[in-house]
Symmetry: C2
Subunit: 333 residues, 2 copies
Amino acid sequence: MESRYLAALSGRNEGAPPLWIMRQAGRYLPEYRELRKKHRFETMMETPELAYQVTKMPLERFDLDAAILFSDILPVCRTVGGKVAFVEGKGPVVDFNFEKFAVECGVESLQFVEKAIRLLKPDLSVPLIGFAGGPFTVASYLIEGGGVGDLKKVKRAIAERREELHRLLSLLTDQTIDYLLMQVEAGVDAIQLFDTWAGMLDPCAFQEFVLPYNQKIFAALSGKVPTIFFGRGLGSHLHLLKEIGATGIGVDQTVDLSYARAFLGNEVVLQGNLDPGFLYGSKDSVVEQVKKVLEKMKGDPAYIFNFGYGILPDVRPEVVEWIVETVKQKVTV
Amino acid sequence: MESRYLAALSGRNEGAPPLWIMRQAGRYLPEYRELRKKHRFETMMETPELAYQVTKMPLERFDLDAAILFSDILPVCRTVGGKVAFVEGKGPVVDFNFEKFAVECGVESLQFVEKAIRLLKPDLSVPLIGFAGGPFTVASYLIEGGGVGDLKKVKRAIAERREELHRLLSLLTDQTIDYLLMQVEAGVDAIQLFDTWAGMLDPCAFQEFVLPYNQKIFAALSGKVPTIFFGRGLGSHLHLLKEIGATGIGVDQTVDLSYARAFLGNEVVLQGNLDPGFLYGSKDSVVEQVKKVLEKMKGDPAYIFNFGYGILPDVRPEVVEWIVETVKQKVTV
């Protein structure tokens, strides 16, 4: 039987929508936290056997329609000389010299990703999603030195160092294309590009610093695998997303899915957008919120259920079970 | 001569748009920081003579078209038993019992605001803007205990304690109406309602927890003074803002002003939306960004220039001078 996930990506899904969950392989799972006690985050990501194990964890618990490689959006940083450290309770801390940078190594330095994919593929019964960060979002971590906050340094660069910013985005775009083609070559079935913070730019800046780079990436993948663009807070950028060239668009909960469908037309796949802030209540309340999202996209052949952003570490795993049951129409409350 | 600001609010402005700046009386001014060394933030806000002095500070430097009362969005908290402390470098810390709350005092406890307005009015040559926080945003500070972050506790309340949340919003709405009518009575020329964080809700939750309360507030002020609603990240909520009942809508930089004008029609006043992240570069770069905004709204009789959110403490005061010159068309770069 064809995967529901791939069917939706080609606009031909029937019945219940497929679902997967952003950060499905992560800290809300006790078995992940157990493993994490023994290894640093970087070690888990860069050891193919561990990445294999973590990627499979949520699939062993839940009837999800896709696996997503356990990794991060920042590996490409190292190709332009950015050093990333994951600091407990603080997130990524990035060491990068924006005054002087160049390509320091190619994506062969990221072959642990390729190896993890090759390990996983024969053992998965659902499609495997590969991914990378969008060049703007990756550049934001590099320039801000970690947590992006209000993008103050990036916006200063837009005002004062436009040429260098474009040069960085251009290098990152080329590296990201190589990185994603390596993942495709290794066997991923689809690619998601996380340009999480691009919606913090006004539409005019988005058009200059986000759109052309992402277009280049999606063009390079075109005809190879289906692609999804994801970003947060993009309600005012939909006219630009129309031109981005991805198979599908993932939106956060601030964008009404019915509105996005009407605005973007039937040609594009839509993915989203349950607010993960609504996962802390009773089963009734969670099911009600899931049903609100499902109702909007009922019968849509090109829709993939997901959250508006990644699941948070303090969500109880049984909540995911309730969601899966509801999306698969196995539950009525 | 009629004030440009009030002319724009009645849709009859000609020539350059009026401008004022969110947080124009604040930490980016050295004279504010001097005064702040001698007094706590609360003291400055609650002492009419000091609030008078701070409100006038930016007007003594810049050719602005409106004054905004020096205050905060949180005074109404105390009427429902919320205690607010402003902690240096951390922002407001709020002590509130969401398990058990009631109206503990009326807005007569906030008469320092009325007194400051009465001191200011005879001495101002431009209109004075009064303001309050929107009930949802104020409730968010109360429930989260200060900085709103990702609204986790609020979203949990939406899922689990909906009735109590509605009761809190309802009490805050009534107190806010009293508070704003007190300001109108004292002489303010317009009211802005800051529902800063309402755009973090999905449109469906916005419709339930934001819209009706703000509609009630704007209805209570209707025919008395012009009103402006302001919120951040509202690109997907414009269809709801159409029904909110304010004279005007202030949007942050994520919303394209031309698009907002087309979507909302010519009946509503628009205010915004230069990204204050773009204020750190050279004069040329600042002027270029201001001109981009002006170009979109050129000749619009119902447009007020402002930032997308408040000016930040580390902006150099001369940058505001460049902006004023550019908006008033006294500069070409």
